[in-house]
Structure formats: C-alpha cells, structure tokens
Amino acid sequence: MRIVLGKEQIESAFKKKVEILSNQRILSCYQCGKCSAGCPIGYEMDYLPNKIIRMLQLGMTDDVMKSKTPWLCASCQTCTTRCPREIDVARVMDAIRIIAQVENRSPVKEIPIFNQIFLKSVEFTGRVFEVGVIGAYNFFSLNPFKDIPLGIKMFLKGKLSLMPHSAGNLRGLFKRVREKEKRSAVSDQLL
C-alpha cells in the first residue's frame, strides 16, 4: 500500500474532530501495541486498535470509517487502563462511532439500529422497555425470531414486563439536546 504523507494527512480534519470529541492526543501514541494485546475482541477485528490509532495518525480517514473495529469495541476499558501514553483508546472508538452515525457512514448496520431503538425507548418512557426494544430491534434487523425462547423463559421468571415502567417521557430533553447539537455543529464549522 502506497501512502503519501503530507501536512494535509497528518493534520486531517477527521483526526482533529476525533481528538476534540475524545479529548485525546492521537499523536501521543508510539505504537507499543499494548491496547491490541489486551483487547478481548481483537480476534474479530479487521484492524487491531493500535492500527486504528496509526491510521488516524496517517490521515487514513476512509479506511478508519470503513473499519468494523470501532463497532466491535465493548468499551471494556482494558486498552484505556493499560496505555503507557495515557490515551483513552475506548473514547477514541466512541468518537469514531459518534462521527460515523452523525455522517451516516457506519459500516455496520445493526449497532446503530440498536442504539436508535434503545434511545427512542428512553426518550418516550424515560427508561428502557426491554420487550419493546428487543421486538423492534429484531424487526428492523430482519431477524424476527432471535432470542424468542430466551425471552419467553425470562418472562416466565417474571424478568420481563409486557408494559413499560414509565418515568415520564424525556421528549423535551431529547429535543433540546438535538437542537443544541445542531447549533454547535453550525458554529463549529464557522470557526
């Protein structure tokens, strides 16, 4: 793979966005690989976590955005805890996921779908309504019968309710957060 390295790559707008959102300095990383050595889900990833950091350093925006790695991060914080350069790698993965969802560029579909359904439940009832979330997720991820036997067993044990436990909706709060984020995005671009 041929990589042309110039100021544009090293100071890419994407890297800057990730740094601001995660409050981390990507260039601090000296590629020791400790994050990847401890990652419990590294076996499923297309690029190990240290490679994602390296790709950010090299301005490889498209490759980072196409990678499934950030979406496989379970936020277990092992990398964050062990990094000798004190980079919060899990937060870097969060920042990539936030940007990908805002720009609608996520390479995996099921996790953004799950997030949206989960947060909708919180928006409308203030809490998570499990049966509703699982049902809607199965429907939208085109896997309608997933976990049905487990769900039935849980229901019989009194662990799932067919009605939401409402704490009052949070629609006002969600609306204010969305509006605030829209305004911030506009002012950030003007800067």
């Binding site: 969802q101 499990e130 699982i134 704490a167 709060l173």
Partner: protein
C-alpha cells in the same frame, strides 16, 4: 442509618429483579437507607456515549441533579450505571463547555458536589455487616468484570489487574475465594443482543476458567454480566453448569435470608442443590 440516593437502573426492575430484591433486603440489615430517586431515568447505558457526547452527560445529569438537591451521595448497584454517572460527573468537571451545554439543556446547573458510589463501595465503607451464618465450604469465584475496576479515573484501586475487594468480602462471610485468571475479563457486555456470538465466546471462557479453578459459584455486581453469564449459559454448549449469584445474594445468605426471599429462583442455573448439600439453606 447511612442515607444514599438510590439509582437502581433499568435492569433492576426487569432482567435483574433479584439484584434489586436482595439489595433492598440486605441494606436494611446493614444500616443503609436507600432513598429512591423520584422518577429516576435511564443513564444512557451503552448507547448514549457512542451516539452523542451531550446526551451521554445529560441523561446521568438529570439523576445527579436530584441527588445534589437533596445533598445525598448517589449509589447504583449496576456497574454500568455507576460508571456512566461517574463519567458524566468527571466530564462535566473537566470540560467547561460540556458543562455549560448540559446546564442549558437541563435548565439548571449541576455543581458536582456529591459523592458517586457503586453499591459495593457503600457497603464496604458504611455497611455494618454482622453475618449470622458462616458460609463455610463455599468456593466462590469473584467476577469483577470491566466497569467495577476500570477506567482508573472512575475506580481508583491499587490492584486494577487483580482486585481483591470482592474476594475479601467472600472471606468475611466465611467462604473461600478461588484464585482464577478471568476475574476482570469482559463478558461481551452490550453485544448480548447485537453480536451474541461474541458473548458466547467471551462469557464461555470466563465460565470455563471459574470451573477449572473449582469454584462452586461465581459472584457478580452487574446485571449485564449476570444475564450474559447466567441466562445465556445453556446456549454455550458447555458440559457443566455453574450458578452465578449477585454479591448481595451471598451477603443475604450469610444474614440468614432464604432462597426465594433473595430472588434466587429467578436464575437460569439454580444454586439450590449445592447450597442444600452444604447445609446453607
């Protein structure tokens, strides 16, 4: 009586009902008064922090604000809720802009004056634990998982790779902690629904290691860890079963409470046979 604002979290009224039951039961004995937060709402769990920075702070802030108004420390038995509450507090203190944004959307300012604790910390610091029964002969694998010990800014502990506090609790109840290697490994967490194969592999390895260490039980302090290790156990193709208890249920047994009072019949892998054979029920 030590008073705390109690944030149970969504799971405690559903998949982790027994965690809520046992928590409320033992806290009375331990001299801890749980003051339920009025209309508490979801902390944002695993979804808000990967979707929106502001949402990830605003959802916990709603609950933190209530506790701050009552001048009460806030406590959650769920490791993930505890972590999200504490991280929102840390982030708002570190980032003035985020704090101003949260103040704007909430309509009031969170000053950051209250202590944020996991239930085990409340019990360890303020609980008056007087066991009525010695849990002799029980071999217990203490499973800490991720968010009870990491990241360091949320959980300052000198032994982050080999924590001891649950093991010490096990000893104080008269049981024996086993030495094992997977006490802080990840169970697969929120991939339970979206990437279930990851949970089967990760949780399966944890269960196998506990088995190899000859543990009778695993104890946990997080509803998601519990449902991955217990409810999904039979999907993993293992040739053994190992019961997974909440640490509050273990305390409850030592305080003399019964199997159903502690909600233990709600587990998928039942612990009754073993407890009976050790004469503990």
């Amino acid at each position: 009586m030590y008073k705390v604002a109690y944030f149970p979290g969504c799971s405690l009224s559903s998949t982790a009902k027994e965690y809520g039951m046992s928590t409320e039961l033992i806290c009375k004995d331990l001299g801890i008064e749980l003051v339920k937060i009025q209309d508490w709402s979801c902390c944002g769990a695993t979804t808000a922090h990967i979707t929106s920075e502001l949402m990830a702070a605003a959802l916990p802030a709603k609950n933190l604000l209530w506790a701050e108004k009552q001048s009460l420390p806030i406590c959650s038995p769920c490791s993930a809720c505890f972590s999200r509450l504490k991280l929102a507090d840390i982030d708002m203190k570190r980032d003035a802009r985020l704090r101003a944004d949260v103040t704007e959307v909430m309509g009031e300012e969170y000053k950051g004056t209250i202590e944020i604790l996991h239930l085990w910390q409340v019990i360890q610091k303020y609980g008056e634990l007087k066991p009525k029964k010695e849990l002799k002969g029980l071999k217990v694998a203490s499973y800490y998982g991720c968010l009870l010990t990491r990241p360091t800014e949320v959980c300052p502990d000198e032994r982050i790779e080999d924590p001891q506090f649950l093991d010490n609790l096990v000893i104080s109840l008269g049981a024996s902690p086993v030495k094992w290697s997977y006490k802080t490994e990840c169970c697969g967490a929120a991939f339970s629904l979206t990437k279930t194969d990851i949970v089967h592999k990760l949780s399966g390895e944890i269960l196998k290691d506990a088995r190899e260490a000859d543990a009778d039980y695993i104890i946990v302090a997080c509803p998601l860890c519990h449902s991955n290790l217990d409810a999904r156990q039979e999907e993993m193709g293992l040739d053994f079963r190992i019961p997974v208890l909440y640490f509050t249920q273990l305390i409850g047994l030592a305080l003399g409470y019964g199997y159903s009072e502690l909600g233990m019949m709600k587990h998928f892998v039942q612990a009754k046979g073993l407890l009976n054979s050790k004469g503990l029920l």
